[in-house]
Symmetry: C2
Subunit: 518 residues, 2 copies
């Protein structure tokens, strides 16, 4: 894409002023419109060193209300960031609905500068492209406007600019060794940029190449691109609202009208849960003995996890009163509290609702060496949100792939990822509900909502079955825990966690040995 | 996904009959509905050996009108198929609108059996996943119903079936060495299947896992899946038609309402064509001398191409009277006619219209060692179809990526891919049109349509600019040929082709050397 670009383009001052006088106030108005329509916007600046990313961002924000945007310079990963999947730092810097985030270089760094520097291997490059495509697809599907701007200058112009910067003490520090090296091996670096542009130029998140030799030309073109992208999104939403009104529906109701493509016949459907043998049990004595052994082992393993920098993600789902809390309590009882955290997942609050549904989970993911336990998880999307209509059918149908992709990102970053489904039968649930109601110590645990959910048992069972099949993977398996006997269930959870950690530790030690040898 | 599946599921005979008595006629009706709505359908059967793909396909087609479907067994690639990108054989076996194609194992073979057998390297596996995702996305976006069925049995059941087949002379031949090996290393093969299911289970082309231990259960479930998928597509089209009627528009007009996101300001836009220096020329003497040399060289290279099995794809686009025909004539003048073919691309005929717009080009792609020249190409999608409204805005906007992906498939299969834009200015065109009209020998070359197109020069220029930038790649570059002087243009085309072939030959020889060593 780059080689066809005319880098000599320029705008005379007068032409430039004429355009900017029109574009700047228009952009200001559009920002307010985006707030009104609750449109989140990400603007990523990529391009060659010294092409003027900083200058252009400074120009762009002139027209914006500073309360509505934030600029993120993207540099080498911090120690903290290195301990997460590479997209984590972008998930945590994601604009809420109605806000604008601007990135001075972006998630593409992984396949550009880092790749050039040999920090990203060939295998990681392929993984990164998969992750990036999934990231951009799910954000835009969720309503994000993703504006990707590439500032292009040629080798000669870049050299001239770098030399000029080096000439003065005030600016010399801005030129890194890497900048000079990428200038020297311009062709090699350009090939990587070219590959990146071609592999990620999609209809939903297209690249905009900006000829950046002339600063004024670039500024006007960037303004024009941002204005057009925002206007087109607003027009799209307005049109959707108009159509929905015409059909006397909400936009979500329209989206819900995706025709169903799932097997309707119960007998032919998945039945993962019915397979669980709920008669499995163990005695109190067995339980006590095993519990102690497993907890001691886990305590030891927890230290090893830390030393070998392995992150662990444990998700708990299950029927109300299925024993999630009890299992989590036994799991963490002897673990060092500085090394784990338990996140109870409630309905999303306002800030969370203003983001992609996976956002809050991404931000809570553990760094390498730490353990994060989620009491209820991102699977709410394909269970309660599906059943209660909190998201559209379109949305939960694509969530399986989105969730598989997120978990794959975690696993590729070295994490142990396990998901537990605490299974009990309907009778056992009734017994426990009753017990809770009758016990003043436990009354707080049971609410009207629990009874309402119980009435939807069959709907949940259908959703859970589909979820277990479509999202159980070798890198992030579902474990159905037979939970009618609490003792049995707790031991099974502990055993599974211990086994998985031991296995991952063994792999990691092998990897580390291999690295030392190499 | 597989490990959660309950392979013990079965249907009693009576239950089975009850279901089939309802499903079979329903499927028959749906096939007719699909013809009416012009829906093309692909049904891919994957799954373990001896899981019953053949039996189940035989059951499925019972309900279908044989004039409306075709079954393709997918075996080892033939010699012919090996000489094309791996998806080529599926492009050429694609159903027309309203027809059903059934594949007994499919394009997934590349990442399953072939991968297991070591025929697909790690790098090729990644490439194949990219190609497959692009393939499925663009087909479904174009209206294809893609039904992917995975038949699952376990290792023990498979072994039992294989042994039973081996027991009888009549059936022993059906068990291959590979079947036995995959049974022996079931886990390793299962991991590949699992990865495949997870990486390609999308909202637009989901996987359906069918428990295949009990034949009757599997048959009923497959019928049910196919019925549901077709019904949901028909409901979607009916709904789109209803909404369009409500808005007093056609469905295409609705699709055209994608808001525009391109820069509106002419000055800020791409101007690849204006950069072409049309004063470039060469004298008749220079021309004759160079032409002879280049043609002789190309003749020699053509033989080398054949021996080294390199496919060559040359596309020609340009203004009417831009000199495409003349350039192609000089290019092929001394080439061995058994080794090249020229495809003039006219408006699509009825059969072509009943397929994806890339279908006719895929089927015409050269096999390894051959040269195919397209006089006008697949770029019609983003030029004439865009401007004349023959496709919707949504369609041509996503075409850039689709085309880049197709050309990448070709390049990854080892092809030289070059695209020439024959550039002349408007005055030169007028001169040539007039000349054609006045010369009785050339009158056939000029039609009313040429004059009409000329009136749309500016619209075309805009489309061509966008096309050149967004689809010029290192693996398939656009070459803008300064064409006011025909001599100059023809020499430039020949030189470019010769250079590119020499370069590719050099690479190929290096590869072959490397392979010999290894």
């Amino acid at each position: 894409m780059l080689e066809k670009v005319d880098l000599q383009k320029k705008l005379e001052k007068e032409e430039y002023r004429k355009r900017m006088d029109e574009l700047a106030p228009r952009l200001g108005r559009l920002q307010r419109e985006c707030q009104k329509w609750k449109i989140p916007v990400m603007i990523a600046f990529e391009g060659y060193g010294a092409a003027g990313k900083g200058v252009q961002i400074a120009e762009l924000i002139q027209a914006l209300d500073p309360r509505g945007f934030q600029v993120y310079p993207v540099k080498n990963e911090t120690e903290e960031e290195k301990m997460h999947p590479f997209l984590w730092r972008f998930w945590t810097k994601m604009p809420a609905k109605g806000r604008i985030a601007i990135y001075d270089s972006s998630w593409y760094r992984k396949v550009l500068v880092d790749r050039f520097d040999g920090k990203t291997s060939d295998k990681e490059t392929e993984q990164a492209y998969r992750s990036i495509c999934s990231f951009e697809e799910q954000l835009t599907a969720d309503g994000m406007v993703l504006i990707k701007i590439f500032l292009a200058i040629d080798k000669k112009e870049q050299k001239k600019r770098l030399e000029k910067l080096l000439d003065s003490k005030e600016t010399a520090w801005r030129v890194s060794k890497g900048d000079l090296e990428r200038n020297q091996h311009f062709k090699r670096y350009q090939d990587m940029n070219e590959e990146m542009l071609l592999r990620t130029d999609t209809a939903y998140a297209p690249w905009h190449i900006v000829e950046a030799t002339d600063r004024k030309f670039a500024t006007a073109k960037i303004y024009s691109i941002v204005v057009q992208m925002l206007e087109s999104k607003i027009a799209e939403l307005a049109e959707a609202a108009r159509r929905a009104a015409q059909a006397d529906m909400t936009v979500k109701e329209m989206d819900d009208q995706v025709p169903s493509a799932s097997v309707e016949d119960q007998l032919l459907k998945e039945s993962v849960l019915t397979k669980a043998d709920l008669s499995l049990s163990c005695t109190k004595e067995e339980y006590k003995e095993k519990l102690k052994k497993l907890q001691d082992k886990l305590q030891k393993l927890h230290g090893e996890l830390y030393r070998h920098r392995i992150p662990v993600v444990l998700g708990f789902e299950g029927w109300d009163a299925g024993g999630k809390g009890g299992a989590i309590k036994r799991l963490t009882q002897k673990m060092d509290p500085r090394g784990y955290v338990v996140h109870p997942t409630a309905s999303p609050n306002d800030i969370e609702k203003a983001h992609h549904y996976l956002w809050r989970f991404w931000t809570d993911m553990p760094k390498a060496g730490h353990v994060t336990i989620f009491d209820r998880t991102w699977y709410g999307r394909v269970m309660v949100e599906r059943i209660e209509g909190f998201c559209s059918k379109k949305e939960w149908q694509r969530a399986y792939k989105e969730i598989n992709d997120m978990e794959r990102d975690l696993a590729e970053a070295g994490a142990v990822v396990l998901k537990f489904w605490m299974q009990i039968d309907k009778d056992e649930q009734a017994r426990r509900f009753k017990e809770r109601q009758e016990n003043p110590e436990k009354q707080w645990k049971i609410t009207e909502e629990d009874w309402r959910n119980r009435e939807k048992w069959d709907q949940y069972e259908e959703a859970v079955n589909e979820m277990l099949i479509r999202t159980s993977s070798p890198y992030a398996p579902w474990i159905v825990v037979e939970g009618n006997c609490k003792y049995y269930a707790r031991i099974k959870v502990l055993e599974t966690v211990v086994d998985a950690i031991e296995k991952r530790l063994e792999e990691k030690k092998q990897e580390e040995k291999g690295q030392k040898k190499a």
